[in-house]
Symmetry: D2
Subunit: 123 residues, 4 copies
């Protein structure tokens, strides 16, 4: 998935604001669902919630750069999943994170619906 860096992604330091890389990864996760004609929720009160992020900021992108987000499945459990996501600028890795997502239904941890499990297995 390709992502362009716009003014709104940069800050006065002249480079991309640090949390934008994490947002870019969220876009890539959402596209997994959108590309399959789904929304990343199971209705009004259920969906994936971010529980943990371990992130390394390795380089900087700037205005106009065209970045690529790569996502891969690390672990898939009944009610949670761990992904590895990276942001690349050409041959340079700018950002990498491991993210733990938990599935919540009406405020409680619950089983990931089957059609969502199948999506993650394709990663």
């Amino acid at each position: 998935m390709q992502i362009r860096v716009y003014y709104e992604d940069t800050d006065a330091g002249g480079i991309v604001y640090h949390t934008r890389y994490i947002n870019f990864c969220e876009r890539a996760r959402s596209e997994i669902f959108f590309n399959n004609g789904m929304l990343p929720t199971g209705g009004e009160k259920s969906g994936f919630v971010v529980r943990k992020i371990n992130a390394d900021f390795l380089g900087s992108a700037k205005l106009g750069d065209l970045l690529e987000v790569k996502s891969r499945l690390v672990e898939l459990k009944r009610s949670s999943t761990t992904l590895r996501q990276e942001v690349w600028l050409g041959e340079e890795k700018l950002f990498a994170m491991t993210i733990l997502l938990v599935y919540m239904d009406h405020g409680k941890i619950s089983r990931i619906p089957k059609h969502f499990l199948e999506l993650f297995e394709l990663l």
Copy 2:
């Protein structure tokens, strides 16, 4: 209402990204409600929606600036209200807009609840 400019508000041009001034004004409108122990909604499916904005960008703020947002009522009707909001840096007016808000309930224009009308009358 005072608002500090943080990195997230700036862009690679070294100044505050243009739509952030409009966000700052939205914060000031929300504080009208929060300060009175209310939320700016009348439940799940009702609340104010922005219909029109006429904005003039007169100057630029930068990282660390402490801005002031001034809001005043222009017109209050049964289901809409017009406000004038300005952003100041000390004696310098950086931004001014006239904004028309419409009250919606389940997707239809409807009367502004009385306790909200009273709040706007105090502006």
Copy 3:
């Protein structure tokens, strides 16, 4: 230009936060330059600054929507330009604005560089 609506674009009202439409239009303006291998600046201290926005919010987009931004030139002067930009969801116009941009160099209004004028004339 097509733009997907992600979680970061929405708010607790369940729809796209109002200033995001204006950001989407900024992305479309920047792409005019990026698509032609240029940055929308003329160096460290020069570039286009937003002076005026008159915006109408006509409808609402939600998570996962695929929007289209249409831009057209209204007026091109020596040191400023006026554009009309609209955001569409299929056949429905959600947002329209007229925007006045001024070219600044080291804090002063100055002539728009020729290669930028040529870009706008193609709109």
Copy 4:
């Protein structure tokens, strides 16, 4: 440091978008400098860069909540520093992260200026 949750901080899930907690922590770090009449940079091309974030998302804030950010020094070295930052809603801890910041000057890791070291020692 207290931070109010506004519409722009929330998403269609009805709660604060996950990366906003990290932004709130960045605001708190910047205030360390602003409160002492400084900017968090050492000129045009130098300043702190985020290198690592280990974050736990423990709870959710919603529109209108008044949050508190607590920051404490974990380690201070010649050219880097590690902080522990938490976001609280009353007695409930919503978010906690350990962040490693590196000081860069013209693209190279360099010594943290003395007046910045002194600020961190006060944390």
